[in-house]
Point group: D2
Chain length 128, copies 4
């Protein structure tokens, strides 16, 4: 599992006085950077062999401005050419949001999904 601590930003609030829901999708992407790093080729961010197929976010509690948020990220099920990333956001000791992302290993040359090598599988298992 990987933990990232974020400080909510004022522009991330909305007129309801809390952090806007859509911001959480961005925070979870930021938490998944730890996964992207396993696939990134040095200095070629534009060709990373991963595609995001699906996200799900459950909003469990209000998220407030003025207190840190911890984003916990771990790898869930591993498929042949795709995998699941499971995430949680915690604030002041409470779970405030839960996320799930499905990432597909993708070959940009052939424009098709590509099996995960044993090497990549081992790296992903390290994030369980």
């Amino acid at each position: 599992m990987h933990c990232l601590t974020l400080t909510p930003r004022f522009y991330e609030t909305d007129a309801f006085g809390h952090i806007n829901n859509t911001v959480v999708a961005g925070w979870f992407e930021t938490g998944r950077a730890t996964v992207f790093e396993l696939f990134a080729e040095a200095d070629k961010p534009a060709v990373m062999p991963l595609i995001l197929a699906r996200i799900e976010v459950d909003f469990v509690g209000q998220i407030y401005y003025g207190a840190e948020v911890e984003i916990r990220t771990r790898v869930g099920e591993l498929g042949n050419s795709s995998f699941e990333v499971l995430q949680e956001a915690w604030q002041k000791g409470a779970l405030v949001a839960r996320g799930r992302a499905v990432q597909v290993h993708f070959d940009h040359a052939t424009q098709r999904s590509a099996p995960l090598s044993d090497d990549k599988r081992r790296l992903l298992e390290g994030l369980r």
Copy 2:
């Protein structure tokens, strides 16, 4: 069904050269404004009796800068105190993303979910 046409903004792109995935969560919120209007009390945006419980987004195709996007929004299943909003994003005649949101009717005074009145149910059914 409600249709909203958006022009992708340059700052919504990312280093992969397309619209960033997390932006779509914001576009779908914008499309749901047509639902929020059914519940808003004039000039009191901060007390709207709706809470977002869950979002799901399926990323079906790349979304490009330079061509309009149509956000289609309709109400799905109606529960006792919650309802489903089903959304699609279309660009250049192709479906590029699909979304589902679960909105809960919420009483801020009691901090609990509240049954949907017949009046609100009729309004929601008008968006099917």
Copy 3:
């Protein structure tokens, strides 16, 4: 002069209940798309020969959710290799923000500023 009409989005509000100030920088970038189009080479957004050197925004009045905003964009002073873009945001008949951007014509091959051709100057003068 070029006019663009935007509908403020809910996630663009902040806890003060209005549109967040930092959003206006994004709206003005969106208004400048009319300038970018004069320089864009077809399907090569990543190599547009323009760099943003400076922005200024004066926040003249509150910007509200729930009413359209018009972004007015025109070219100001033309220098040898740079030019000024002057912008205004209007809502409900009132000026709410004023912006100024300095764009530099840039040669990515040499990594230096490049003089504006007579052709480009004529195009820019058409946006006065």
Copy 4:
């Protein structure tokens, strides 16, 4: 002077492959939180007696994904009812952006600017 370290987020990049310019306005707002804290009344973010009158940003160098950014914030000139905030963004030892914000001390009850008390002036001088 106050220093804040930020990690650029992937969704903050744009199709040019770097951090989008408009993001910097948000980062500088985040850096100014150290100023907002001097004026905030506990648990009343919605009534902070400050209004942003103007921002200026000079984009000095490209800002890259993948390396931390330090936002340096200090108070500049103090007027009767307003003050200047001077900011810099540094990445990999290089100045990449410079900002200036004009904040007005504002009385929401009378809807007018209000003189800075000696107490607030001392606090602001502590951020020079």
